[in-house]
Amino acid sequence: MTQITPEIVAQHGLKPEEYELVLQIMGREPNLTELGIFSVMWSEHCSYKSSKKWLKTLPTEAPWVICGPGENAGVVDIGDGQAAIFKMESHNHPSYIEPYQGAATGVGGILRDVFTMGARPVANVNALRFGEPSHPKTRHLVAGVVAGIGGYGNCVGVPTIAGQTSFHSSYNGNILVNAMTVGLAEKDNIFYSAAAGVGNAVVYFGSKTGRDGIHGATMASAEFSEDAEEKRPTVQVGDPFTEKLLIEACLELMATDAIVAIQDMGAAGLTSSSFEMASKGGLGIEMDLDKVPMREEGMSAYEIMLSESQERMLMVLKPGREEIARRIMEKWELDFAIVGRLTETGRMVLRRHGEIVADLPIDPLAKAAPEYDRPWVPSTKRPVVKTEDVPAKPVDEALKTLIGCPDLASKRWIWEQYDHMVMGDTTHRPGGDAGVVRVHGTRKALAVTTDCTPRYVLADPQEGGRQAVAEAYRNLCAVGARPLAVTDNLNFGNPEKPEIMGQIVEAIRGMGQACEDLDFPVVSGNVSLYNETNGQPIDPTPQIGALGLIEDISKSTSLPFKKAGQVIIKIGETKGWLGASLYLREVCGREEGAPPPVALHRERRAGEFVREQIQAGIVTACHDVSDGGILVAVAEMAMASGIGAKLHAPATLPAHAWAFGEDQGRYILTVEESDAAALMEAAQEYDLSVRIIGTTGGDSVELDGVGVAVSELRKINEGWMPQYMGATEIVA
C-alpha cells in the first residue's frame, strides 16, 4: 500500500490542516483511494469552501421558486403545472487546454444537470470571454470553443439561442467558457438526488468509465506505472450522441415510477455523485467497483472513483424496478449496472476484486468539508470621470469605431454555427436582447439571457455585481418577459489573495441587492476560482444567466425596427456617464473611472413599465441600452431591420455624452405616432423619465444631421468577426 506522505497530501491539493481533519474523521491514516476521495470532495469546485459563506447571503426565494440552490439545478414554476429548470456551469480551464473538447464537455455537463431533474432541455446559452484578439492564442481558442459548443449542442438537438462574447487582455491566459441550459418539466414529476430506502439498488448507467480527467496532481504517485502520461489523458472527450440517448432514456424512465433519486456524474464523477446522494438521504452505500462498466483494463479503485468520464449517471431505484430500468437502457443501447445497495450505516464501503478498498464516513466528509472565511479587503473605488474630461470625437466616427469593436461587433459568425432553431419553438433567434423559445404546445414562452460587464465589476465590484443582474433583468423585459430567477457563474482569480476575495465579497453583495430589489432570486449557480495565469487574475466576471416568462407569445416584441415613420422613445434618465464606458475604452483608449450607478428601484419601475406597454400591444420594437449607449442601441435596431433613424439630442449635454454615455436603466422603444402620447402619459404614473428622441426611417442613422448609412454600419458590424477569424482555422 502506498504510504501517504506530505508530498502526496500536497499533490492532492489538501493543506496540512485539512489533512489533520482527514485523520480526525477517519481515526486512522487513509489509503490512497480514500485520500483521493477526500481531495476531490474538498476541492474548491465541489465544496465551495471559499465562497459558501458569501453565497448564503444571496436571496433564493420567491413564491414561484420550487427549488433553489443545492440541487443539480434551480426550478421555477411557470404555471399550468409546468416548471422550468436551469443552471449555468463553467468549463474554463479544460477549454483553454483543449478548446473543442473542453467546451463540448462543458455543454454536456450542464445539460445533464438539467435533465437529471426530469426536464427536457429546451435551450442552451453560452457566455464566452477570450483574450485580446491580437493575442496569438485567441483565434485558435475562439474557433475551437465555438465548434465544440456547436458540435455538442447541435448533435444533442437542443437549440443554442443566446450568449455573450467579449475580448480582453485579462483573459489572455485564462479564457472563460460558461454554459447554461434551460429545461422544461412537469411540476409534479421533478427528480431530486437524496437517496432513500435501505436495500435499494444503486444503479450506474450511460457510458463506460475510462481514465478520463483523473486529477492531474495525482499522476506522480508511486502506484502508477511509468507510462502514466500515456495512460491518463486529463482531457475528457465528449460523446454527444450518447448524451442524446441518455436524455431520451432518462425521460422515458422518468415517465415510469421506478426512480427514487438520480444524480449525474459531473466533476469528481462517481465519488461526488454517490456521496451527495447518500449524504442528502442520511444513508450509507456499499458499492462493488468490479460492477462498474469500464472501458479500459486494470483500472484501480482510485481511478474508478476519480474518473471524470462523461455521459454517466447514478440512480437509486425502487425495489423490483431494476428490470424496467434495464430494458429502457438496453433499448437506448446504454450501459446499465447495479453497482451497489443503500445501507443504514452512513458509510461508504467500496470493494474491488472482493476486498474492501475504502471505508469512509459519509456525512463528516460531505458536510464537514472545510469552510473558510478568507480575509478580504474592500476594493479601491475609482474616481468618477467628469464628462468634460472626456474628449468629444465626431459622433459618426465614434459610432463606427464602437459598432466594429470586438465586443460590439456582430457575433453572427458564432451563432450561425449553433443550431438555434431545432425543436421548432425558437421565436427569437440570437441577435436580440434575449433568446426566446415557446413552451412546446402552449402560448407561453421562455426568454433567456446572459450578462455581465467585467470592466464595471473591476472598477467597482459591488456596482458591477448589481449591474450584471440589472442588465439581465432589462434584457428579459425588453422582449416582454417577466423576469423569474437567475443562475450565476462566479468567475474570479485566487481567493487566497485578499483583494480578489474582496472582489468576490463585494460582487456577491451587489448581486444580492439587485436580486432582492428586483424580486429576482438566485436559484442555481457555480463558482470558478483561481482563474489566474502567472499571478495575473482575470477581470472579475460574475456572469448572470436569467430566465423570464412570456405568458402569451403574441404579446412580445423584438429588437428590429418594424417600419419607417414610427416614433423612437427613450425610457430612463440620461446623464451622459462616460466613466468605464466603451466609448472611453475604444474611442479614447482609456480604461478608467467609476462605472455607472444602478438605481434598482428605478430599474424595476422601468422594466415594469416596458412590459406593461408591450402587453398593451403598442410597442413595435424594443431594445435595452447597454454597452455603447443610446446611439449604439439605435444603430443595432437599424442594422437588424435595414431601416434608419433620425435622432435629436437635447442641448443640455455634449453630443458624445448623450450618444455614448452608459447610464443604466434605459430602453429604446418604437411606437406608431398615434400611440406616443398615450405612452408618454402612462409613464407619468411610473415616475420615469421618458423622451421622444426621434423617428425611424431613411437609410442612415443620424444624430442631429450627422449620420452613417445603415449599410455601412452593417458592413462594419458584420465584418469584424469573419474577417478576424478568416479561413485559417481547421477544427475537425
Partner: protein, 80 residues
Amino acid sequence: MKAKVHITLKNGVLDPQGKAVQHALASLGFEGVNDVRQGKFIELDINETDRAKAKEQVEAMCRTLLANTVIENYTVELAD
C-alpha cells in the same frame, strides 16, 4: 515529395466514433469485432526534395495544425 500522415487518438482517449462503428458492425451481423479506433489519414504533396527536411517540415505541420497533440498522436512517412 509525398508524405503520409496518420493521426490517431492517444491511448485511453475515448473514441466515440470508433465505439459507434463497432456497435454498428455488430448489428450488421459482423461478429467478433473487439475494438475499432478511428483516426485520420492525410496525404500531402510537398515541394521539398530533401528527405530529412521534408520529414521535419511535415512534423512541424502536424504539431501546429494537423494533429491535436493534447489528445492525438501522429506519425509521418515519406513515400519513396
